[in-house]
Amino acid sequence: MAKITIDGKTVEVKDGLTILQAAQEIGIDIPHFCYHPALSIAGNCRMCLVEVEKMPKLAIACATRVIDGMVVYTQSEKVKKARQAVLEFILINHPLDCPICDEAGECKLQNYTYIYGPGHSRFEEEKAHKPKRVPLGPNIVLDVERCIMCSRCVRFFDEIVKDPQLTFTQRGDRVVLTTFPGKRVDNPYSMNIIDICPVGALTSKDFRFKERTWNMTAVESVCPGCARGCNVYLWVRNNQILRITPRVNLEVNRYWMCDYGRFTYKPVNSDDRIKNPMIKVNGELVETDWEIAVETAASILKSVKPDEVAVLGSAYATNEDNYLLQKFAKSVLKTKYVDFLRHVKDGDEDNFLIRADKTPNSYGAYLVGVRSNNGFGFNEIVEGLRTKKFKVVYVMDDDIVLNDEIYSLLDEVKVIVHATNKNKTVEKADVVFASASFAEKEGTFTNFEGRVQKINIAVLPKDYEPWMLYKPRKFGEVKPNTGEINKANLALSRLFKFGTQFDRWASGERRNVKPSWWVIMQVANKLGAKFTYASSSDVFKEISETIREFKGLSYDLIGDEGAMINKN
């Protein structure tokens, strides 16, 4: 332990910490560009200079380890001068690009210049010109002029994914960030460098110029791309997700997420969404309202005997949806045939984040009771279809048409399906419930390790208004002293809050979709059950009371970070 004094506050910190880390522990943030908690220390930006007693010159806080009895000043006149000088120096060749720069609003350089900068420029000469709009690979565009040579991106490839793809060439003000000759940046985790780049030098091809950061609402969620369940923010404007960025969770994904996960919003926005419930009339699916769709489904199910119906849950659906589905199957439909499909892509797995299981909640679906009991699983269901054992197949949030045989077998039975997007199963359906996607509902996913994590409403369904969102939040502000925007508080953008139905920027499409647990409850109640859940948290409460692994869990406990199930 070392006893040090920072800005008059005396604390004991662990040996081996740097001044910057020690300061962060007591809530003092020292501005920095090149330091990143997950990367090695480069010490090249000099933004973190602080004054240390008995040291002849200012020291960089990111690389200086604490020593017992150290006295540090982060706000002294000398330090302020140094910061101004560093910023002025960086800005000498930094273009005046903020108006067209995607980083603006969450840019460290912009924020630090605003907070610590000299406020004017003495530079009159022509700035150095370097390549702009350099495509670095399929997903990234580089603007060399904006790069401040902090080398975070270089270190990310070297250290985190161990796949060096970027480097600097030349020196001084001619230095250029570039790929190795003839190579592209195509690592499956490459887009993380966009997030860690403290400026707007690296931009996402997909998101480029889509929207200014402050116009979007950031909602905490969980990536549905694989069983890892990386924590993410969904960035929404006008009821459309525009990008997904990782949310720090040291237990799950740390600071990162994979490139594939960043595109999992596409199906939510896509044109093949099912926007209203549908029923089959004369062989054609026609849109209808919920009342009629539920009624139709109930009348189909009423006529079948137990075990004449096969029920399929989903590893894409939440714990709540799956729990209620199996309860419905077992207590109302009284069928033994309950299972869900696994979507495992063998080999597509690494020891970093990506999992072969491409669904977010297969473990959860299994735990809450959607599982085959000796000989009543998916294979037996297909077999049953062949032997015409079933009258009805009830599918929730999945596409069970794995091959042409199943496709034609479905002609023989009535099919009730919950679906977010059009798929092969929907083509065969008699009733289609328009299902809320992961961005349109509340619920929990259980990742492959057994961590229960919460997803939230980011895209509003038809019957939701902004003020009904799960918790009231403040418009984001810069954390005092730092260049970091507190994204958790950046939520509800101004546009989101004050739009009216007459503003085109606030009249983005609201789909008439419902979470699956709600739909199941309606159908079950039509069939005589008495389900009375008002929200997904009611369902989760019942899960925590009845399923051993979920004992003691609640939405409050899960919070933003998630919570582990009881494994013993």
């Binding site: 108006p99 116009n215 007459f502 503003d503 085109r504």
Partner: protein, 176 residues
Amino acid sequence: MTQTKIDGRAKTREIKRKANLNLLERLYLPEIFKGLSITFRQIFKPKFTFEYPDVKWQPPASFRGRPVLVVDDETGVERCVACGLCARVCPALAIEVVADETELDKERYPKKFEINMLRCIYCGLCEEVCPEEAIVMSKEYELVFTSREEAIFGKDKLLTPASKLKDRLEFLRKMR
């Protein structure tokens, strides 16, 4: 009591309080007649009215009419880079900008630029914040629409060549 006139010339004048009115003044009537004669004379003075639809008022450069987008004379494209600062500063949330990429040097251009003239309060903050001098207040004050939809002006109505906005652009440079 001494009063200083606005133009700086000092002028001394007794202010009459109720206590020191003389009899004639207390009768009020003479003063009333004085007033009546002033208004009467006013009848024959020249009039200031513009007979509006026939005669139109030409506003000075400082006038804040409806905001328009400046089209550069040389390049023929709008100066706007769709930075969205005008939309951010607009106190009435009147502006919506949707950006897209362009091959031009400016990289970014407004794919969609809409001002809801029902929301706009003609404050001119958008003009003031614009880093590109791309949105300025025109002299146009005749705005008529018959539906909410019509009141949302898109790029077709907003784009205006810089040559037509000379007055205002010069004024802005002068005031900078």
